[in-house]
Symmetry: C2
Subunit: 432 residues, 2 copies
């Protein structure tokens, strides 16, 4: 009788195209690249056709961005600047791709680097945050089927006009998933500095457990809620193309297969947890407008102005003011607060509020799980667990598979640990 | 009555395509690039169509080569390694081209970077030391004629198979000259850390003077004799395509035009000096084979073996041995000595010499000048000047426009100063 683990292993072992991705910390220097090469070697030795997507060496992208900022600070009105940023910053992945190919050659494998324009990874013209349109990877695919290992520079592509484009931060995950889709790869293994997706951040709770499987939808929510394992766009792409993604560590022993966490279709997950994970997002800021005239269209005006300024609003609460009109509170990413404040200060006469208050000392704690769809009482468990720790909820938002609450920053870690226990996620079931 | 200086200025000022090149020290950091941009700006403001070739930031190529050597040491038998070296190392110029374009944009100019594969700079497949075959620069040319400044990544090109190639050390000079030829540019200005070509190295003699003009032939001899101002290949290319090259400093004031040194056709140089320059090459090593059997074909066997090992032999002297057979002495670049010694040690039984001696403590001092063609007594002046300082000549070689002597290293600087004076090159004529 085959165990599920055995069945999965068999599926992984048959000859197929596979894509591996190594992030910045996994290729931080030549020694780290040699470790990465040991993982690549294992897959090639198993007879797979292997393509690899690599990031820039850790710290390199920041160095290049700083050089660009010194040469010509970004200007949203000048897209030509973004084009040159892309040419400079894409050099980081170019270097890694060549070095990893050299290491594989030294190990006796046929290997070559592929830049974005060579693969080619065709993108739109939104330089600095380009979207992949298509990877016509016939030639690359034929090359790997002959046994040559393709080392593809992640994060970059070729835009209309044959200019170098980049996909924005974390874009190498997207390269890997898009490449896997284009190659019809059996799986896409994302090697990183953690050995999978956890029920919560292990630095916050020692009770955190690695998840064997997570659905695309859950991973999407978790990615946008501050779990930094995978970039949101890469998960969207994996979901759209049904690419089986596995997250695993490049810091382990290449000789021993690590199961990691498989991100896959919900249908594949037999035992659905009501709540799969608890996340904590510290990148939150709140604006409260006091005394907004209580007239139709006023909220629409405010959020229209903010949208035009490129500010993404997350949670919104409107409540009657004790004085006059209404109080309107809403949250956004910390980095977008200055732009929001500037926009609302300029528009004060037009909007007609009394006072604007801002708050950085807030965090968002969320519980995520596809099981919520078919279970009731998930929210009340959350509120009860937080109330028991005397944590005040400032704001609530929900989706079909998650509930988020806004609380004072100082209670963040405590709330995560309390919820992790309340939903039965603790490693030692029943323990405190 | 227009003075020659005025006539030249007028020729420079009319609207035309021009190419500027900035070497590693001239783009060592963003501040240095801003200085380079000031020179570019001056040409653009004068209404010229401007293309710029840039090197990697000083030190960057060495850093990238060291990373490659760590990842997979060079192996002459493995050309695939050179292909990946090229992908890695070419990233240095990619970064500079983007940054210089950003700086020009910030100054309010339209500018864009062009990588080797974009220009395109088509090369052969000799990765690591590729030769430029063709630059079909119609699109680039049209772009600069609209006033957009083209910032071309030097040193790199695109080889058959659409792989990134590099031209070998100093290749950015070659890029600039080839680009000037392809664009039909009126001139090619090479900005470097010296303000022109000197009668000798100013660090050796305070009497050294900047030359206003040097012929292609003289510059070629000087480049191969250790004057590091321009790379030999770029001078050959300039001569073949009659590209007017000017060497000038990027460390001066961009507001004041520096004349630099023009490298041009011999016919343009009205007052030909008998000797234009004195050079000193320290990169010399000598091998002496004692007691080589004095039979026909023996020298041909020795130099055939060395040629097969990739050793370039410079000066050769054969003299009868006091014991038996002949003594054969020859020189090569210092870096090639180990390979030569290894080759000759292995072949000792076949060649049948008694003893091999090596010598590093030698230098080559040369005098160069197109005037030699039509003047006699050049060599005797040289030998007399050296004899007066009691400097022993170990070896002599000549070409139509140069005489080189091999002497003990400790006399190198003294010999240069003596010859500089003997040929009337000293700044203060008649002074010691």
């Amino acid at each position: 009788m085959a165990s599920p683990v055995y069945a999965e292993k068999a599926a992984f072992d048959r000859m197929a195209r596979i894509v591996l991705k190594f992030g910045g910390t996994s290729v931080a220097d030549v020694d780290r690249m040699r470790r990465a090469a040991a993982f690549i070697k294992r897959e090639a030795d198993a007879g797979h056709s292997v393509a690899v997507a690599v990031s820039a060496m850790a710290g390199e992208t920041n160095r290049l961005v700083a050089l660009c900022a010194d040469a010509g600070p970004p200007d949203p009105a000048l897209d030509v600047r973004n084009v040159e940023y892309d040419a400079v910053v894409a050099s980081g992945e170019q270097v890694t791709s060549g070095l990893v190919a050299l290491i594989l050659q030294k190990l006796g494998y046929r290997a070559r680097s592929w830049q974005g324009w060579q693969a080619p990874v065709r993108t739109d013209g939104a330089h600095g945050k380009a979207r992949i349109l298509d990877i016509p990877a016939e030639i690359l695919g034929e090359a790997i089927d002959t046994g040559e290992i393709a080392v593809v520079a992640g994060f970059q592509g070729i835009a209309p006009g044959d200019r170098i484009s980049t996909l924005g931060r974390g874009g190498s995950d997207t390269t890997a998933v898009a490449l896997a889709a284009a190659l019809g790869a059996e799986r896409c293994d994302i090697y990183t500095d953690v050995d999978g997706v956890y029920t919560t951040d292990p630095r916050i709770s020692k009770q955190a457990r690695r998840l064997d499987k997570v659905s695309y939808e859950e991973m999407l929510e978790m990615a946008s809620l501050g779990a930094k394992v995978l970039q949101t766009r890469s998960v969207e792409l994996a979901m759209a193309h049904k690419v089986r993604v596995r997250v695993l560590s490049s810091f382990g022993d290449p000789g021993r297969a690590s199961p990691g966490t498989v991100i896959c279709d919900e249908d594949e997950i037999v035992e659905k947890q009501i709540v799969s994970a608890v996340t904590l997002s510290k990148d939150e800021a709140k604006i409260s407008l006091m005394g907004v005239p209580d007239e139709p269209g006023r909220a629409s005006m405010i959020f229209g102005l903010l949208a035009d300024a490129g500010v993404n609003i997350d949670m919104i609460v409107q409540s009657p003011s004790r004085q006059s009109g209404a109080n309107l509170s809403f949250t956004m990413a910390d980095s977008e607060l200055p732009r929001a404040v500037e926009t609302l200060t300029l528009a004060k006469p037009k909007i007609g509020y009394d006072q604007m208050l801002t708050d950085h000392n807030i965090v968002k704690v969320s519980v995520v799980g596809v099981g919520m769809r078919s279970h009731t009482g998930v929210a009340s468990t959350m509120f009860k667990a937080l109330a028991e720790k005397a944590i005040n909820i400032q704001n609530i938002s929900t989706s079909e598979i998650k509930i988020s609450v806004l609380i004072a920053a100082e209670y963040g870690e405590l709330a995560v640990r309390a919820l992790h226990q309340a939903y039965g996620l603790d490693r030692s079931a029943g323990a405190a």
